[in-house]
Symmetry: C2
Amino acid sequence: VKIDAVDFFYLAMPQITTEADGSQDALVVRVIAGAHVGWGECEASPLTSIAAFVCPMSHGVCRPVAASVLGQKLEDVADIARIAALVERGSMDLLQAPHTWSGIEIALWDLLGKARGEPVWRLLGFSSTGKKTPYASILFGHDPHETLTRVRQVRADGFTAVKVGWGPIGLGSPGEDADHFHAAREGLGPEGQLLVDMGQVWQEDVAAATARLPGLESAGVLWVEEPFYANALGAYAEFASGSAKVRIAGGEGAHNALMAQNLIDFGRVGFIQIDCGRIGGIGPAKRVADYAAAKSITYVNHTFTSHLALSASLQPYAGLIDHRICEYPAAPKALARDLTTNHLVRNRDGEIEVPNAPGLGIEVSSEALRRYLVDVEISVAGNLIFKFPVDWKTNQKMT
Amino acid sequence: VKIDAVDFFYLAMPQITTEADGSQDALVVRVIAGAHVGWGECEASPLTSIAAFVCPMSHGVCRPVAASVLGQKLEDVADIARIAALVERGSMDLLQAPHTWSGIEIALWDLLGKARGEPVWRLLGFSSTGKKTPYASILFGHDPHETLTRVRQVRADGFTAVKVGWGPIGLGSPGEDADHFHAAREGLGPEGQLLVDMGQVWQEDVAAATARLPGLESAGVLWVEEPFYANALGAYAEFASGSAKVRIAGGEGAHNALMAQNLIDFGRVGFIQIDCGRIGGIGPAKRVADYAAAKSITYVNHTFTSHLALSASLQPYAGLIDHRICEYPAAPKALARDLTTNHLVRNRDGEIEVPNAPGLGIEVSSEALRRYLVDVEISVAGNLIFKFPVDWKTNQKMT
């Protein structure tokens, strides 16, 4: 079969706020190839990612993503890597391309899996899967008391691992930050896994990060995430060399596998966090997972949106039993919850299992696609080059 | 003054081909602040870069570039870095943002320079400038004879340095590649500086690159450029450690200063090539130039388009006398030539001088802006969020 159509559903909550919550909008991708359909999701700016798919060619290595995808043969797993290489070459100078391609690539795996009646993790070469321990991602409160309350709530919801991030952290004094870390530990209890996300707040300032180490250590924090800019490899390495107990996590900003490998090799992270909706999809994420395993670094998914994205993000390390912790969107906006009709719910032990159903094992809700849809029209030189949905009454694609 | 308006002129040749020639279209940026006007240019996909400026916010760190720029105070050089930091933070998850911001940032330097009657290089802290030796960038021919003819032509045009790249190179055997290298050397003569651009053709394959070293060495090639993917730091370092004479050049893919520094520190390049239209503008390019100088690495501009882009690209190392070679768009498309009414022409010695006129010292042709303009309209949720030009008859902005 050939790739006949790639459709982008730009979905959004009625109101978008400035909080660091990536579940407020979504770019869902549907790929149609012959009789088969697959679904994926970009973790990216929807309009900009659509533009990267349809933009006019600038030159031979600045082509729209569509040019490397539409009409391509899709018959087995190797075709996905082959098309990925076409995109990498043809859109070398189109910076947004990896974010656009990520959602398409995920949809291709879903499509192939469904066509063969196999879960994606099996197509990736795993023969079985391991259970994952989900951590809930929440934001620091305005003060330590609010942080305590929030973490306590998550603990009451049954999570034994929690990541707290953003908000005021890193902006006040080391003592104020330590109060937040200890409040989080108090809310979680002495046993739970406590993770902290700095959201790049210190940019390249290793001294600022190091000043927080005593607070992080005494609160028993397992990892401190993105203390610096995504590409500040030197700062990562310097901080890592000065931290005996607390390990560094990073990688969500990687838009290809090599950037993640650089964080492992040169940034000396202890946990490599990959967002399949940004790195180019499931294939490059699997490459990073294998690389991490070979280097004794722990692979972790980065997922803040829907359970379609969550299932995709678990596939690349579904069979890596020792890489147990996983990010779980504990309190997403209604859009992310409503997007799928089924969900990866925690079992009695509070753990997550990767679906055994064909493809990603997740059903997209056509009702949610309708309810949250944002229509987009783009014209260049007087020609309408993108319009979705085409026509509410006659559009066969919407069914 | 405040930044009152940022306008994007999407310009294109009537026909865009698949050749690796980035001068086939352009995204020119005009910034208006009070009574002052500045001009810049993005080296990027025009439509996608416009989308990154106007897209709806996705969340707190995935905001459109416009949100961090419009209305900002612009009174001195420090304001440019301050706004850059706002963009970096506010658009952390918007991958295209650095390409969009690059053209704006260049325009801000041009505007400030004109407002103060100073060339940009002086605002950057240089007290004088050095002459640069331009190299002409051309493509390999289909066969060594065509390569010879092309290089001979460039030599006859007075260039003593030439870079040959892309086309069939790296795809055939090492012997076939060596024939091209020697043809280029023959065309240039024994004295000239010969540079080779591999256009990432070997991806991560160090052995493939190493197999070409004898041919590169015997042809006296000064640098081999982008043998691998932009982020393949490990491959860069491995190849560098095995090459005694030929040095590696890279960096055009860097979309922030840290990526370029990583190429120096971990990739061990000998020449760091920066495109101001991609890395975030002149400020981060200057940071890389200073970093390179401190590490005894040679800084080089990457410029394939207009003389507006060329002037911008020379500013960050205008005063670094020892960093002498510069890329010079020798045979751009008519659009790139017509875009400016003045040009940086070679002096009698075949050298280039950085302009002493205020700002970038380059005048944009309003006639070219009209002639090559591609109009763009973007609507989201039924609202027109971008339309340029607004109205050919009444639009004051077009004058």
